[in-house]
């Protein structure tokens, strides 16, 4: 599309279209919607992680005043299945409990209080079975089987290069095992949906969700309806981060079954504690490394083995593992690579999508090993990365794919180092004896934008653009706003393409009856895929708009330019007519003012056996450098500053872009330092914000951002996704900064005070006090709240 002489809103900071209603409290989320006769749903869940079910007692629940329906597996009209990829998860349990939180029954009642009281009174007759909670132990012979087929779900691999030769040429070899914990999404709006039945023929679901088409498929399956009879409208969604990718299908399917059972609208909003207990999590993983480098500091080989705790159901775990697998060595040039990523069933909460999708864990391990290598080679960590990072000459990634130019990893590294003042910081003397120590650490990410080759059949996107008779514009897309700014991005892209002010464009939340299946809003593909579909729709609209404008202007249609709210004659900017006048004229002539748009990602080749080829079309690259102070006595980490340099291709909406980077950094910092899922026999022991600590305003670091615009990427106007690259390197950078500050290696995430104190060992300032004393006294002396 030719660029107009009048610059549009692209890259600007105009007001987000959803901000004013949200700040005034007038945006209606699911919990704010009510209908006459509406019932409230609740779920009765299993308290054990592994059991045989011999029966479910419902009489007491049914007797609660206000209860209209109590439903079990036998009452489901269609199929009792909710898995996105594998059919291993029932909506309601039949004979077997595999995790704490498996649903025994669901209830609909006239008040939420009655519904939850009834749910509490549902009694499952459960015979406990052996359970397995450690993914490594789950792979051993004789481990209790979570499903009949065994606990190893799948292994993904990368096999590339001559390992024997590389081993012989390596002067330094680092081996390490990393224990990396999971993470709770902690979106502020709990999961919720509203199911509105029309007899038993059709149903509308209004859901807080990232993926309305997933919800549509899940509801159609449990009700036994065709897809066209299930309409899913995305409600304004109060945060997702991956937690509202697959999980919302479960409450939606429950509400749908109850709505059909009662013939009444049913609203299902999860209380926070159950939301945290039942919903998917970032995977806990164990990563083993053996990496080698030459005396020159150049990487020779990387061996990575990851064991990923999928929990009791696969959900999206295989897809998460697919991404983790090919992200295992970061943005580094490595001649010989061996990666194995195992997906393993346990009786824990199930892992799923979470911003970064398996990449944060393997990135954390990769960046930790890079720092260990730097120490072994007596090289500055920045220098070691300069010697190994991909650039225009060395463009081959983990899978053997050659990246298109420009490859700006080195640029990002240098820009972040400059922002952080790396050289000055390291030239300054630092007191090693004081209790509070300072450190600086680096994290880099190479992020494959959009869906992996394995999911490319889903990688398409639909849009509808309607030019109204008054010149205002309706845009509908299939990808969702969950806070990240997709409405703002779509508005900006449509306004830019139509040459109008963004305020003229109204982007409405997705509805499965207005656009075609556009796949999930994940993988940093929202603005990219909806944007390209919008551009396609605008192109088609202009085949009808331009001739009308040309008539009004008295020029050939090929000479029509759009910009600044006007259609003008190219090269003669003073001959112009308002776009709104063109719209009015189109309406007067009864010319079709609606156009659809479509985009699909480019087909790629990838060999799943060897993990080689092109898993993604193109990549985002970023570098973040964290400066921390660590209280060596208490083990408390304070992230002072994060400097972030991101290649985003092209900025679409600057506030939304910065918001993604700032939010990703703080969420990544939380995962790396304070957020710890405490599982006791598969039960989450800290399902609340008092015991599960997400960062507050008082924890937020100073954030410096350098935006690198390489252009050229395949996204709208050359943009690429930033939602996930913003989070992935943060925890790694923080870990490396803490380790530098203390002179220790920490191989466990999060870096909670007990973990930091333990890592200090003999270097702890009070170690001399503890020396030769019984452990209990040592525990008493340490002010840190040790893990029991």
């Amino acid at each position: 599309m030719a660029e107009s002489a009048r610059p549009g809103p692209l890259g600007g900071r105009h007001e987000r279209p959803d901000a004013r209603a949200k700040v005034a409290g007038s945006t209606r989320y699911v919990a704010d919607l009510a209908l006459p006769g509406m019932l409230h749903a609740a779920a009765a869940v299993a308290p054990l992680a592994s059991a045989r079910v011999t029966g479910v007692e419902l009489a007491a629940a049914r007797a609660v005043e206000g209860v209209e329906a109590v439903v079990t597996a036998a009452d489901i009209p269609g199929k009792n299945l909710v898995g996105v990829i594998f059919d291993d998860q029932p909506l309601l349990v039949e004979d077997r409990v595999r995790m704490v939180g498996d649903r025994l029954a669901v209830v609909a009642a006239r008040t939420p209080e009655a519904a939850w009281e009834a749910a509490r009174l549902v009694r499952g007759r459960l015979e406990p079975l052996p359970a397995v909670h450690d993914p490594v132990a789950a792979l051993e012979a004789g481990a209790p089987r979570v499903h009949d087929a065994g606990n190893l779900v799948r292994t993904f691999r990368v096999v590339r290069g001559d390992l024997d030769r590389a081993l012989a040429r390596a002067a330094v070899v680092v081996q390490a095992e990393y224990q990396i914990g999971g993470q709770e999404h902690a979106y502020l709006e709990p999961q919720g949906c509203l199911a509105i039945p029309e007899g038993r023929d059709r149903i509308t679901i209004v859901a807080s969700c990232q993926c309305p088409f997933y919800v549509q498929q899940a509801v159609a399956r449990v009700l036994g309806l065709p897809l066209a009879a299930v309409r899913v409208e995305q409600a304004p969604t109060g945060g997702g981060f991956g937690g509202k990718e697959d999980y919302p299908s479960e409450p939606a399917a429950c509400a749908a079954v109850l709505a059909f059972a009662t013939g009444r609208p049913v609203r299902f909003v999860l209380p926070r504690e159950l939301d945290m207990q039942l919903s998917s999590k970032r995977h806990a993983v164990v990563v083993r490394h053996r990496w080698g480098a030459g005396r020159d500091g150049k990487l020779r080989f990387a061996q990575v083995e990851t064991v990923m705790d999928a929990g009791a159901y696969i959900g999206l775990s295989t897809v998460v593992a697919e991404r983790a697998n090919v992200s295992s060595i970061g943005p580094y040039h490595v001649p010989a690579v061996r990666v194995a990523t195992h997906v393993v069933y346990t009786n824990n909460l199930f892992g799923g999508a979470f911003r970064g999708f398996g990449a944060p864990q393997v990135t954390w391990a990769a960046e930790a090993t890079m720092d260990t290598l730097a120490r072994a080679l007596a090289l500055d960590p920045l220098e070691l990365r300069r010697r190994n990072v991909l650039d225009d000459r060395r463009r081959t990634i983990c899978t053997g794919q050659r990246l298109p130019k420009p490859v700006l990893a080195r640029e990002c590294l240098d820009r972040a180092a400059e922002l952080a003042g790396w050289e000055d910081f390291h030239a300054r003397p630092r007191a090693a004896s004081s209790a509070v120590r300072e450190g600086m650490g680096i994290g880099l990410v190479l992020y494959g934008c959009n869906l992996h080759h394995g999911g490319q059949r889903l990688d398409r996107s639909s849009a509808v653009v309607i030019l109204q008779p008054d010149g205002s514009v309706v845009v509908r897309v299939g990808l969702t706003e969950m806070g990240q700014g997709n409405l703002a991005a779509c508005q900006t892209i449509a306004a830019q393409a139509l040459g109008v002010d963004p305020s003229v464009v109204q982007v409405w939340q997705p509805d499965t009856t207005t656009v075609a299946d556009s796949g999930p809003t994940v993988a940093s593909r929202g603005a990219h895929m909806s944007g390209l579909a919008i551009l396609d729709a605008v192109k088609r609209l202009r085949t009808r708009l331009d001739p009308v404008a040309a008539d009004l202007l008295g020029c050939a249609p090929e000479r029509v330019d759009l910009g600044g709210g006007f259609a003008s004659v190219r090269g003669e900017p003073d001959r112009l007519v308002r776009v709104s006048d063109v719209a009015r004229e189109m309406a007067a002539r009864r010319i079709e003012g609606i156009a659809t748009g479509w985009h699909r990602s480019k087909a790629r080749t990838f060999d799943a056996e060897t993990g080689t080829g092109a898993p993604y079309e193109f990549y985002a690259i970023a570098c973040q450098i964290a400066r921390v102070s660590v209280d060596a006595e208490l083990g408390i980490v304070r992230v002072q500053e994060v400097s972030a340099a991101h290649d985003v291709g092209r900025v679409i909406h600057r506030d939304a872009l910065e918001g993604q980077i700032e939010g990703g950094i703080v969420q990544g910092m939380g995962w790396g330092t304070s957020e710890e899922l405490k599982l006791e026999a598969g039960r989450l022991a800290n399902p609340n914000f008092t015991d599960y600590l997400i960062p507050t305003a008082a924890d937020t670091p100073k954030i410096k951002i350098a935006v690198v615009e390489s252009g050229g990427a395949g996204g709208p106007f050359g943009a690429k996704g930033v939602g996930e690259p913003s989070l992935i390197p943060t925890a790694a950078a923080v870990r490396n900064a803490v380790c530098e500050a203390l002179g220790v290696e920490i191989r466990r995430l999060p870096l909670s005070p007990p973990t930091v104190v333990e890592a200090l060992g003999e270097r702890h300032p009070f170690a001399w006090v503890a020396a030769g004393r019984p452990e209990e006294e040592h525990e008493g002396l340490a002010t840190a709240d040790r893990e029991r």
Binding site: A19, G25, T237, R272, V666, T700
Partner: protein, 160 residues
């Protein structure tokens, strides 16, 4: 069923009376009885701050306040922050400086921020501390604190 309790209060500047069950939370009275759904429920345990309202000018988590206890008091919700059809200066700053993402924590943040500004607090470190009871998972707080700082500065200039 226990007898309903009569609660008369000043709600967003208007004198209102409700008859509520004795155990009703202020949050539910606002959302269900008064229809003011701008106040959100994020945790129901006083941890997240999404249900923050002003009780006699001070921010409280309305999920932990009994409706019956506000009889005779003054309550302001997010819907009551606007003056003469114009958003509160902190709300305006959140909109214009990119401080809004998913929006679910935003009403609570707007209410707490309004209380901070009413105290004429201008120290950024103090802003961060006072906002630390309002969790936000999207923004990383950077632009939220920036908006509060901007509103505080503008307020000082107006007074000066």
């Amino acid at each position: 069923m226990p007898e309903p309790v009569r609660v008369t209060l000043t709600l967003n500047g208007e004198r209102r009376t409700f008859h509520v069950p004795p155990g009703r939370r202020l949050l539910d009275m606002l959302r269900e009885d008064a229809g003011l759904t701008g106040t959100k429920e994020g945790c129901g345990a006083g941890e997240c701050g999404t249900c923050t309202v002003l009780l006699d000018g001070s921010p409280v988590t309305s999920c932990l306040v009994l409706a019956a206890s506000v009889d005779g008091h003054d309550v302001v919700t997010v819907e009551g922050l606007a003056r003469a059809g114009r958003l509160h200066p902190f709300q305006e700053a959140l909109v214009s400086l990119g401080g809004v993402q998913c929006g679910f924590c935003t009403p609570g943040i707007a209410v707490t921020g309004a209380a901070v500004l009413a105290r004429h607090e201008s120290d950024p470190a103090e802003h961060a501390r006072l906002l630390s009871g309002n969790l936000c998972r999207c923004t990383g707080y950077t632009k939220v604190l920036g908006a509060l700082r901007a509103a505080a500065t503008a307020g000082e200039e107006n007074r000066g």
